[in-house]
């Protein structure tokens, strides 16, 4: 019997399985075919590739969902030579897709990075992997070395190891770290003005986005559009965890109903909700699990796409308890620069914990809502906005449970062990939260 191949949607994760050397260059070329870049900066090739990526409708896979073609267009108009930043930080605790992609198909990511760098005229590629993630760094470094042995590359590719905090993977925080080793998000009034590393404009791309670029470069935009929806074409990697028999990373066609994705991972029959898009995403109620997994469809039911993450919450779990844990974690992950985030998120976490434990007064739900309104949009980055989105969706999806808790009755899932995972150990409050609070006191 032939080696297990991925089902028909396999694109990024296409290739053989089971042998130890599936991530080497030879296997990569055998699976995906060759990709030749022009020998010199060939203007026509670059314009053609830019058009291809634009026509493909590729959206960023790092959570922002920004059209990649538009991003390239903006960067290649700048007069200075840009630098390409590959974001493989994967700050969302429930996500494993970038890790798996870089372990399984690092050469796809490197191909895509070289294509992108060629089009925008970059010569430097900075690959950012979280400092605790040695396995992924090892894998990508091995792939870079393998290519290096074949002859010089005209790109200088460096692997960087920023600290593993939730906000480190945020675009402006990552660029900030590359500049002065402080992963602090920067207030951006005008997003069309590119971030800069030193004096050079930086183009930041999620690793998976670049892997998709590598495929578009080989097979063209029409091929890419054969999967997915009109507004969100192609395939995407989704990390599925929670009440599923086979947790892991799947490659799915965008627009697949959420429940179908969960079924592929062997989800429980009865769910009390699904967390979509990560800890900065939103809950999806059981009545909406047939929603297609695509940005527009999810937005229409009040959810968000975010990063490809699905966490199945089984019936008999308490969504309020899970949300309370997430919010407390996210409060600790604040960069600590902005008052509303530093003070507001712990306050909301406190309220949710009181709500869960039944110790709250009757006004707690209103208080959570008004505090969410107060915190929303008032930070330099979108971190508090994500938490607010999660909290609002929890009050909506688990509204009955919330009211029961507020009235002092435990819900049906009360006391059940929690399902969501959080990184172990206390969050490193490295001069973040404490600094702002102390500055205020001084």
């Amino acid at each position: 019997m032939t080696a297990m191949t991925l089902d028909a949607t396999g694109r990024l994760l296409a290739g053989p399985a089971g042998n130890g050397s599936s991530s080497d260059l030879a296997t990569h070329l055998a699976t995906h075919g060759p990709l030749t870049l022009p020998g010199r900066d060939h203007g026509q090739w670059r314009m053609g590739m830019l058009r291809a990526v634009t026509d493909s409708g590729l959206l960023g896979r790092g959570g922002g969902g920004f059209p990649s073609g538009a991003k390239w267009d903006a960067v290649q108009r700048t007069s200075r030579r840009p630098i390409l930043v590959v974001n493989a930080m994967e700050g969302e605790p429930a996500s494993a897709k970038d890790r798996v992609l870089l372990a399984y198909a690092p050469h796809l990511v490197l191909d895509g990075a070289e294509v992108a760098a060629t089009v925008v005229g970059a010569r430097e590629i900075a690959i950012c992997v979280a400092d605790h993630n040695d396995a992924t760094a090892f894998s990508i470094e091995a792939a870079i070395a393998e290519r290096g042995h074949l002859g010089g590359s005209r790109f200088t590719t460096t692997v960087h190891r920023p600290p593993d905090r939730y906000v480190s993977g945020e675009e402006s925080a990552l660029v900030s770290w590359l500049n002065d080793r402080l992963a602090l998000p920067v207030l951006r009034v005008d997003k069309s003005v590119p971030l800069q590393v030193g004096r050079r404009p930086a183009m930041v791309h999620n690793a998976e986005t670049l892997a998709q670029v590598a495929l578009i470069a080989r097979h063209g935009p029409a091929w890419f559009r054969r999967q997915g929806t009109q507004e969100a074409p192609g395939s995407t990697l989704v990390t599925v965890t929670g009440a599923v028999r086979y947790p892991g990373v799947l490659e799915v066609e965008l627009g697949t109903p959420v429940i179908d994705i969960l079924d592929r991972a062997g989800a429980d029959a009865a769910l009390s909700g699904v967390l979509v898009g990560g800890y900065g995403g939103s809950w999806l109620g059981p009545s909406h699990v047939a929603t297609p997994f695509a940005p527009a469809a999810l937005a229409a039911v009040g959810s968000t796409h975010g990063v490809g993450i699905l966490i199945a919450l089984p019936a008999g779990s308490c969504g309020i308890a899970e949300t309370a844990r997430i919010v407390r974690y996210m409060a600790g992950q604040s960069a600590g620069q902005c008052g509303p985030c530093v003070f507001g998120l712990p306050a909301i976490a406190e309220d949710l914990e009181q709500l869960w434990s039944g110790r709250a007064d009757s006004s707690v739900i209103d208080r959570i809502r008004s505090r969410s309104d107060a915190v929303d949009g008032r930070g330099a980055c979108r971190h508090p906005d994500g938490v607010v989105r999660l909290v609002r969706s929890a009050l909506s999806v688990f509204g009955d449970d919330a009211r029961a808790h507020a009235e002092g009755h435990p819900c049906t899932g009360h006391g059940a062990p929690t399902v969501l995972t959080l990184p172990s150990g206390p969050p490193a409050v490295r001069g973040g939260t404490a600094t702002k609070a102390q500055r205020r006191a001084s």
């Binding site: 920067v186 207030l187 009034v189 620069q337 902005c338 008052g339 509303p340 003070f343 507001g344 306050a347 505090r371 107060a374 008032r378 930070g379 330099a380 500055r439 205020r440």
Partner: protein, 86 residues
């Protein structure tokens, strides 16, 4: 060549330059001077940080808005131009 006596050329939209207030949340350290000076536009949340009304500032409040921006010990209140089509 036609002569014009002034006013907007036909076909062009007139632009008014308005000023609006904005807070830099990273610089802000909750002194609260801005809210004291301009309570019509700036209120403080329960933690002492300013909630700024971002609509264009009335000419009558402009002097106070300028003062609010100048008095901030952290220079966190900004008064900036925003162009609106007239």
């Amino acid at each position: 060549m036609s002569t014009r006596t002034g006013g907007t050329p036909p076909g062009a939209t007139r632009q008014r330059v308005a000023l609006r207030l904005r807070v830099d949340p990273v610089a802000c350290d909750a002194y609260g001077f801005c809210a004291e000076l301009l309570p019509e536009r700036i209120t403080l949340d329960e933690w002492g940080y300013p909630i700024v009304d971002g609509t264009p500032v009335d000419p009558s409040l402009l002097a106070l808005a300028t003062r609010a921006a100048a008095e901030c010990p952290r220079r966190a209140i900004l008064l900036e131009q925003v162009r609106t089509a007239g």
